[in-house]
């Protein structure tokens, strides 16, 4: 688990809208409707850091609970509720302590199997038995809810990237359980169960016996009903708490990794309980401010294309209650409670600020502040990737001086080692393991081949028909450009996958050959040339572009040139940009400055340039600018676009967000 200094400072860089949204929610009156904010993005997009930052920001003043619903914890809903209630009971200076008597009684009643031969007998004995259970639990753990921490405490853990301050808060919340005054029994809340619509019996004690039977003798439907009643009890307790003076207006619930099977179930039950209480039963809304994170598309939202879900993903920058109210579907649908926020990648400025913030802790990063554009080009601003790259730089003997030595070192960056706890992996392996968790090596190899195509959907169709990889990547939010733009794999995993594919030269060539043929057969010449260049057929590409040069407007030619020269390469993994260029050499010797010679030079230069690992410092800008200048002299008209392009490279300004360039 990574621990950072301050989640607020680093984790939420570029996610300020989330903080202000949560702040807004916490300030609302207790009965106001609040969204279930979903932080959506691939692994490493900063959701856990967001949880940590929210915890650190609001934890000291507001009751909060954090539960990690990741699959490995296998957290059943009842345990999840127990953990949440236990944390929300934390005593804060400005509020009275919150109580969860209904939930506790429900958990208690369904905990142990009651010894009874008939309902009537169960009814007679249940109070005594429940009191006895409670006394035993309190004798052992201090209070009944503390027992849940003993059983399921692993799911509390701490979010990845949690700051020391957030960790301290979390530990404080768990440790400071309260010892109940002896003699105060939860059985006083039994009447609430007698009146619950999901329970047949109107008698409080029979209702509790029914709960017990559902858990120990019931089928799956009964168990689901039990969970629904428990969630309803949880919300009723919260409403009751918030109704009193000196109680908080809202409770912050942080549900990490809620895309897991258990997480989805937990969220389903929570949303359903809220919807049943608020919309169906017409009660006031519960005072929960829920922030959940998921790095998967949730099946309940329909197909991952999102066509059948009434929500369009919103950006986190301008998230607010007003934005939620304006876009939420009608209250009749339980979709009305979601507020999906897509965690975007960091832009260049945010990466730069992040490096500077980390500098405060790690002064050894100082020489690398200039590398912000490189890091951003390489990772496309994926927060975990930025972090991993910085970690590699910090722990390696990378030349501090900007220059050829540093360029040569950075050329092999994916193969540099990254220490993760006691494990030592290459950066590429560590990053791919993180991003593609759950996908085995053969499929990763297949994915690497498919990723050779910019459009992953075509890559999978051509190279691995019938494979669900495309859908899988889409569900993992690893595709760039939802909607009309090319559904490309995120540049960071794609670059690393292609780095691996480059180790298999034959496969590399075959894949690109196949793709080139495919695009050729469908008349998409630019894409065909893209793959030919990746295949290393520089002359063919040169011939194509030379042929296009006089025939099409300069602007279009430049566009096609840029698309083609953005092709990946499998150039040697040593040497700086000039070494690489030298290795590629001229196609045909000759002193004459011909169009073909200039275009060829331009193609290889930009090909190398467009790979951030090949030209980390963008040292080839001037060469490219010269190439366009020369090209402008070889054309009689329509030269302004060429001049402009030359100027663009000469005075290069790196774009804030990722583009196909570089």
């Amino acid at each position: 688990m990574r621990v950072t200094e301050s989640g607020v400072r680093i984790g939420l860089r570029g996610r300020n809208g989330i903080v202000s949204l949560v702040d807004e929610c916490l300030r609302q009156p207790p009965t106001a409707e609040r969204p279930v904010t979903m932080l959506l993005g691939p692994r490493g997009s900063g959701a856990s850091e967001a949880h940590s930052a929210l915890m650190e920001q609001f934890g000291p003043e507001n009751p909060f609970a954090y539960v990690n619903l990741a699959a490995e914890h296998g957290l059943l809903p009842r345990y999840g509720l127990g953990l949440l209630a236990r944390q929300l009971e934390r005593k804060l200076p400005r509020y009275r302590r919150s109580h969860f008597p209904r939930l506790t009684l429900g958990l208690l009643a369904s905990d142990h199997e009651l010894r009874m031969t008939s309902l009537a007998e169960g009814r007679r004995n249940i109070r005594r038995e429940l009191d006895a259970f409670q006394e035993r639990a309190e004798a052992r753990y201090g209070d009944y809810l503390a027992a849940f921490f003993e059983v399921a405490g692993g799911a509390v853990g701490a979010p990845d990237g949690a700051s020391t301050a957030a960790l301290a808060l979390l530990r404080d919340g768990l440790r400071r359980g309260r010892r109940r005054l002896p003699g105060r029994k939860f059985t006083g809340s039994a009447a609430w169960y007698g009146g619950h619509p999901l329970i047949r019996s109107q008698d409080p004690w029979e209702a509790l016996v029914e709960l017990n039977l559902w858990r120990h003798d019931g089928d799956a439907e009964d168990e689901e009903r039990l969970d629904r009643v428990l969630f309803s009890a949880f919300l009723a307790d919260l409403r009751d708490n918030a109704d009193h003076s000196f109680m908080p207006r809202s409770y912050l619930l942080l549900l990490d990794n809620s895309h897991s099977e258990y997480g989805r179930r937990f969220l389903d039950l929570l949303i359903r309980a809220r919807h049943d209480d608020t919309v169906v039963a017409g009660l006031s809304c519960d005072p929960l401010t829920i922030v959940a994170s998921s790095n998967r598309w949730l099946p309940r939202w329909g197909p991952a294309t999102g066509d059948q879900w009434p929500w369009q993903l919103r950006g986190p920058d301008r998230a607010s209650l007003t934005d939620w109210s304006e876009h939420r579907p009608t209250r009749d649908s339980d979709d009305t409670w979601w507020y999906p926020l897509r965690l975007r990648d960091l832009n260049l400025d945010e990466v730069r600020i992040r490096i500077e913030l980390e500098l405060r802790r790690h002064s050894d990063l100082a020489p690398f502040t200039r590398l912000a554009p490189f890091v951003h080009r390489l990772t496309c601003g994926l927060p975990s990737a930025v972090h991993q790259v910085l970690e590699v730089l910090r722990h390696s003997d990378v030349p501090a001086e900007d220059g050829p030595e540093q360029d040569r070192w950075l050329r092999g960056l994916p193969d540099r080692t990254l220490r993760d706890g006691e494990e030592t992996l290459t950066l590429a392996d560590a990053a791919l393991d993180h991003l593609l968790q759950g996908i085995d090596e053969p499929r990763r190899a297949t994915l690497a081949e498919c990723a050779a195509a910019r459009d992953l959907s075509i890559g999978t169709r051509v190279l691995s028909p019938g494979d669900s990889l495309f859908g899988e990547m889409r569900a993992r939010w690893l595709l760039l450009g939802p909607g009309g733009v090319t559904p490309a794999l995120h540049p960071w995993p794609r670059r690393l996958l292609l780095w691996r594919l480059a180790r298999r030269p034959d496969d590399w060539d075959t894949v690109h050959e196949l793709l080139a043929e495919h695009f050729g057969s469908v008349g998409r010449t630019v894409q065909e040339m893209y793959h030919r260049l990746a295949w290393g057929r520089i002359d063919e590409v040169t011939a194509h572009l030379v042929g296009r040069f006089p025939g099409v407007p300069a602007a279009q030619w430049i566009s096609e040139f840029n698309a083609i020269t953005a092709a990946p390469n499998r150039l040697v993994s040593t040497g700086g940009p000039l070494d690489l260029l030298a290795g590629l050499g001229p196609g045909e010797p000759g002193e004459a400055v011909t169009t073909a010679a200039v275009i060829r030079e331009l193609i290889i230069t930009r090909w190398v340039w467009s790979d951030p690992l090949a030209d980390p410092g963008m040292r080839l800008n001037d060469l490219i600018a010269d190439g366009f200048n020369q090209l402008s002299r070889l054309r009689r008209n329509d030269v302004v676009a060429l001049f402009n392009e030359a100027e663009r490279y000469r005075h290069w300004r790196h774009p804030l967000t990722s583009t196909s360039e570089g």
């Binding site: 207790p30 200076p93 009275r96 109704d243 003076s245 000196f246 109680m247």
Partner: protein, 497 residues
């Protein structure tokens, strides 16, 4: 119900703060008061008051307010302790207080001698009631109550006395009550309102009357003036008179005497007449201007040459007047100066000085030990014997010359209270309260009249004594008052029955 959203820890702090402040707000004044009380304490029930830090309050004799009182206070303490000890064996008791200004300054009309003599007389009455010739039950504890100079702190002392009604002291009566001043009158009213019986010893102002539960053993000023005229009318040599009067508004004593004398003296049958209008001075004018006024009187008096000058004023003004008169031009004419009872407050030096000037000084006193020998039927023999030369009082206080009769008046006052207690106790010791004692004052008639050393005493409904004996006294060169005659408002005082 509206939710309160103030931060609980702040609310708690504020509430705790308010509670602490409230506690401090109560505790600090109490503490300061306690510290003040401790620092201001002279003894149980006696505290320091005023700029001079004089000790005022009530004591059972544990504390003596002035050094000259030590001997008599010690005796009172011993007697009180005896009563307390007997109480442990079941002997019932009640308390009677003797209230006056015991810490005196030049502002007071009483002298140290006079208040000491009062206390000695009061002790005699206590002794007689407890274990002397009048021994009866319940016993009396005598409390000494000091209101301070000019009775400036009467309120504190009176409150202390009222508190002792329901305490172990079982106070039922307050005697003494000091001279006729406004503070003393206020004190008297408050005591009366609280239900205590009150008996004044030397309070003579005529207007102090009709107060519930209040009686006095002294004649009123009017009675004194009438007794003076009765004496003069018995003389053929003293027929012309002039009244010299203090015109100070607060001096009711002087106004009462002057007016009563002016009314009663002229008598066409006997030829007694006033030969000039009243001559007045104002002792209340700041800066002592009254002394200058007095200097002009001798010339006028030499013109009119009255045989009698009736001086209606305080004793201390009388000495100045006599000084002025000594410097008169008509030294061939002998004046007889007749004054009121306040003359008895003069000490021996003052009296001796007053008679150096070839002037006969007579005054209507309140009591004199020679009254019994001069007119045995008008004074109780049993009581009077204690005051005779070589009597019990001389045995107890051999070095103290009780020339002013104040001991007799105080004795008679306490004796009146003791008589009331004895009469009230017929219903059992528990029936002795301030209310029952003061009711008994109205029953003290005929055989029940008080056999006082200053005369036989019974009371009118307004609290004044009936036709009380008034001694006509003359100051001699030794600074003593000599009895001339026993008079009364009606000429002859009542006899014993």
């Amino acid at each position: 119900m509206r939710r309160l959203e103030w931060p609980l820890h702040i609310v708690r702090r504020v509430v705790i703060g308010v509670v602490v402040l409230a506690v401090l707000a109560v505790a600090i004044p109490l503490g300061i008061r306690w510290i003040g009380d401790v620092r201001a304490r002279c003894d149980d029930g006696v505290v320091k008051r005023g700029e001079n830090k004089e000790c005022v309050g009530v004591t059972d004799g544990s504390y003596h307010f002035a050094g000259h009182l030590a001997a008599v206070v010690k005796k009172i303490k011993e007697e009180n302790d005896k009563v307390s000890k007997e109480a442990e064996e079941g002997e019932p008791y009640v308390s009677v207080a003797y209230l006056t200004s015991f810490t005196l300054t030049n502002d007071d009309s009483n002298s140290e001698d006079s208040v000491r003599h009062e206390l000695e007389g009061a002790y005699l009455a206590q002794y007689r009631h407890n274990r002397g010739d009048l021994a009866s039950s319940p016993k009396i504890r005598l409390l000494i109550a000091n209101t301070g100079s000019s009775s400036a702190h009467w309120n504190y002392t009176v409150d202390e006395l009222i508190d002792r009604m329901d305490s172990a002291d079982k106070l039922v009566a307050v005697t003494g009550l000091g001279p006729s001043t406004d503070p003393n009158l206020e004190a008297l009213r408050k005591l009366s309102k609280s239900g205590l019986a009150t008996v004044a010893s030397t309070m003579t102002a005529t207007n102090i009357q009709g107060i519930s539960g209040f009686v006095r053993v002294s004649p009123t000023n009017v009675d004194e003036a009438y007794a003076a005229t009765a004496y003069l009318k018995g003389s053929t040599k003293l027929r012309t008179a002039v009244v010299v009067q203090d015109a100070a508004k607060t001096n009711l004593y002087a106004a009462t005497l002057g007016t009563a004398f002016t009314e009663a003296f002229p008598d066409k049958k006997t030829g007694h007449r006033l030969v000039a209008e009243r001559m007045t001075f104002d002792s209340s004018v700041p800066g002592g201007a009254w002394k200058n006024e007095l200097r002009y009187f001798p010339a006028q008096l030499c013109d009119t040459r009255p045989q009698v000058i009736y001086f209606a004023g305080r004793g201390r003004h009388l000495t100045n007047f006599l000084d002025s008169l000594a410097n008169r031009s008509c030294t061939d004419h002998t004046f007889t100066v007749l004054a009121g009872d306040d003359t008895s407050n003069l000490d021996r030096e003052q009296i001796a000085h007053a008679v150096e000037n070839d002037v006969t000084v007579l005054f209507t006193g309140l009591a004199h030990r020679d009254m019994w020998r001069a007119d045995p039927r008008r004074v109780s023999e049993r009581s009077a014997r204690y005051f005779q030369q070589g009597g019990q009082m001389d045995e107890w206080f051999p070095t103290d010359d009780r020339y002013d009769g104040q001991d007799i008046m105080a004795h008679d006052a306490v004796l009146t209270a003791a008589e009331g207690i004895r009469m009230a106790a017929i219903g059992g010791p528990d029936s002795v309260t301030g209310i029952t004692v003061r009711r008994m004052f109205h029953q003290m008639n005929g055989p029940q009249q008080v056999a006082g050393a200053s005369g036989f005493i019974s009371f009118q409904n307004n609290g004044n004594p009936r036709n009380k004996a008034v001694p006509i006294l003359r100051l001699n060169a030794q600074g003593r008052a000599e009895l001339v005659e026993v008079s009364s408002a009606q000429g002859k005082p009542p006899e014993g029955q």
